[in-house]
C-alpha cells in the first residue's frame, strides 16, 4: 500500500487541457436542443461498437481513457449497454456480419442519441472499401452525426469528435 501511494504521489497529475471542438467534423447539423446538450455535457454515457475495424481504432479509444486525456475527468464514461448510452462511438468499416448487430445496437439506444464514426474506414470505408463482406462507411448503415478521420485518429481527435457531437452549432 505504501508503495502504491508513493507512486501515485510521485506520478502527479498528467491530465492535459482537452481540445477545442471542430465544426469541420460534423457530418450533419446539430439536431439536439441546448438543454439536452447541457445534460449530455454534464454526464455523457458512451457505448463503443466495433463494427468491423482492424482494432487499431480501439487502441486509441482505450488511450482516451488514460491519464493524459482523462475522458472520465470530463464527465464522459463508457457504459456496458447501449440502453444506458447517449452516444455510440462506432469504428468500421461495417462488416456485413455486423450489420444486424450494429442496427440492433442503434435501435436499443434510447433517443435522443448521437453517433460518432471513428477512423477512416468508418468515414468512407477506408482501405477495405465496400465488398461482398463489407457495407463500407457507418452512415451506409445507421445515421451518423460526427466523423473523425485518421488511421487511427489520435486520442485528441477522438476526444474532439466526442466534444463536437455534444456542442451546439456555433
Amino acid at each position: 500500500m505504501y508503495q502504491i501511494l508513493k507512486q501515485i504521489i510521485k506520478t502527479g497529475i498528467k491530465t492535459e487541457t482537452p481540445p477545442q471542438t471542430d465544426e469541420a467534423m460534423r457530418h450533419v447539423e446539430q439536431r439536439l436542443q441546448q438543454e439536452i446538450l447541457d445534460a449530455f455535457g454534464g454526464a455523457l454515457a458512451i457505448r463503443q461498437v466495433d463494427a468491423g475495424s482492424c482494432n487499431g481504432c480501439e487502441l486509441e479509444i482505450h488511450a482516451v481513457s488514460n491519464a493524459y486525456y482523462n475522458l472520465e475527468g470530463l464527465g464522459i464514461r463508457f457504459v456496458a449497454s447501449p440502453r444506458h448510452a447517449d452516444l455510440l462511438l462506432v469504428t468500421g468499416p461495417v462488416s456485413r456480419h455486423m450489420e444486424i448487430a450494429l442496427k440492433r445496437t442503434y435501435d436499443a439506444t434510447p433517443e435522443p442519441k448521437l453517433v460518432v464514426a471513428i477512423g477512416d474506414c468508418a468515414c468512407d470505408g477506408g482501405i477495405f472499401g465496400e465488398s461482398y463482406a463489407t457495407c463500407g462507411k457507418i452512415s451506409n448503415v445507421i445515421p451518423v452525426d460526427v466523423v473523425v478521420k485518421g488511421c487511427p485518429p489520435t486520442p485528441s481527435a477522438i476526444l474532439q469528435g466526442i466534444l463536437t457531437a455534444i456542442s451546439a452549432k456555433k
Binding site: Q3, I4, Q7, I8, T11, K14, Q48, V49, D50, A51, G52, S53, C54, N55, G56, C57, E58, L59, E60, I61, H62, A63, S65, N66, A67, Y68, F78, A80, S81, P82, P93, S95, R96, H97, M98, E99, I100, A101, K103, R104, T105, D107, A108, I127, F128, G129, S131, Y132, A133, T134, C151, P152, T154
Partner: protein
Amino acid sequence: MPIKHPNLKLSRLTDALPAWTGDISPDDLHEICRQVHDGGGRLVALWGSDARLQSGGFKLHLVLVNETGMVCLNVTLSAEQPMYPDISQIFPAANRMQRATYDLLGIYAQEGHDHRKWLRHGAWHSGSFPLRKDFDAAASRIPLPNPPPEGEGTTVPSPAETGDKDKFYEPDDYGFVRVEGQGVHEIPVGPVHSGIIEPGHFRFSIIGERVLRLEERLGYVHKGIEKRFESMSLQQGAKLAGRVSGDSTVAYAWAYAMAAESIAGVTPPKRALWLRALLLERERVANHLGDLGYLGNDVALSFGLSQFWILKEQVLRNNATVFGHRYLMDKIVPGGVTVNLDVEGKHIIERECDMLEQQVRLLRGIYDEHAGMQDRFIGTGRVEPKLAAQLGLCGLAGRASAQAWDARVQFACAPYDKLNVQMATYRNGDVAARVIVRFDELFESLRLQSEILAKLVNEEDTPLLLEKLPGNGFGIGMVEGWRGEVLVAIHTDAEGNLTRVHPHDPSWQNWPLLEHAVIDNIVPDFPLINKSFNLSYSGQDL
C-alpha cells in the same frame, strides 16, 4: 531439409528463413503430417488457392514447422471434386482453418467430423465462394430481412419460419454444442461486448458460476481482406497487410515484406533490417505495457491500469515524434523501411528505455507483492503444457505453457542472428504465468532495443525499391509478433500481380485453447483469462 518422404521433392525458397516448398498428392498428406507431428513439428497455417486457370484445379497449402525449418506443402486438388483428407485429427488447430477454407474457396476436408461453417455467417450464399476467381459478388449477396424489425431487436423472424431460407441473411443458425443436465444453463455473450473490444460471440454453458463449457463463434469482422489483396498493387498490399490486425501492424508489414523479398530474391539493406527489429520490439513493448495495465484493472487494481497506460502513452508519443506514427503503421515496405533514425531520435529511445526499465521494475514489485492480485492470477485459466502441445498453443500464451518456441530464436533471421534473444518461458500456464512472460519479454525487448541502437549500422543505405514482383512466384514471411508468429504468404500470377495473399494470425491456434482455459473457472474470471491471452478477432476473421 526438415521432412523426408519418397514422394516429396522439396526445393529451398530464397527466403530470410529456412523454408522449403514441395508438391504432393492428397494421398500422401496424412502420412507426411503424421511424420511431422510425431517429430515434434506443428501446423502453422493452412489456406487454399484457385489455380484452375493455371493448372486446372485448386490447391491446398499448408505450412509445417519443426526445429530445422519450415515447409510449405502444395496439394493439388481436382476442379470437380476439390477434397483432401482431414488433418484435424493430427493437428487439431486445422479444424477451423479447414472450415474457413471451405467457406471462402469451396475445397473441403473429407471425413472431417465438423462441417459447420466458420467465416461465412450468411452474408453470401452457401454455394458461392469469394476466393474463387469467378466469384460474382453481386449475385451471391444475401440481403438483410427487410424492413428491419422495430424496437425489439432480438425478434427477427427466422428465415426458416418465413420460408425464405437462403434468401435472407440468417445470423443465428449456428450449431452450438449443447450441454444438458440438471441446472445447466447458457449465457450468450456478444457479438457486441460490454467493453471496448472487438466483436465475437461466446456461448457459456454453466452451473451456478462455474463454466462447464465455452464455445466461440467468430467471423463477425470478416472484411474480405484476402479478396481485397487480389486487386491491389504490391505497395497497396503492404498497407492492407498492416491493417489485418492493427495491434500487430509492424509484424504483419514485416512478414509481408519478407514474403515479397523472398519472391524477388533480394535482401533489404542492413540498416533497414535493424530498424525493422527496432520497430517490432517497440510494438511488443507498447502492447505488453497495455496488457499489463488491463490485467491489473481486471482484478480491480485500477492503479495498475493508470500507471501502465501512462508508460504506454509515453512510448506511443515517442513513436510519433521519432517515426511519425503512434503505432508505426506503414513504416515497413517491401524492400526496406520508410523511416530513419537520427541522433536525437536515438537519444529519445535510449532515455525511454532507461525510464521504462526503472518504472516497470517498480510496478512489477507492486504486482508481485499484491496478495489480492496474485490470488486472482495464480491457478486461473490454466492450460497444462501437455494440452498446449497437443493442441498447438503458440506465441506468448504458448511460452507461458512451456511451449519453448519463438521465431526470433529458432529461425533467427537478420538482425536477430546477432542479438541472441533470450526466450521467456514458464510452465504453469495460468494467468500468472502469462503475466510473468509478458514482464520478462518486456525487459528483454528493452535490452534488445538498447543493443539494436548500439549495433545499428550507420552507413547510408542505397534504398532498394521493389516496384513489382516476378511472375509465378511464391514466398513466405514469418515474424514473431508480440502475440506470436505472424505469417504472410504471397502467390503471384504470370505477370507478377498479387493473385493470392494469405495472412495468418497466431490467434487461429490460440482461440480454441481459450475454450479449454476457462473450463471449471467462474464466469467473472472470464474477462481476466480472455485478457491474459488477448487474441485478435480481426486477424482471424480476415
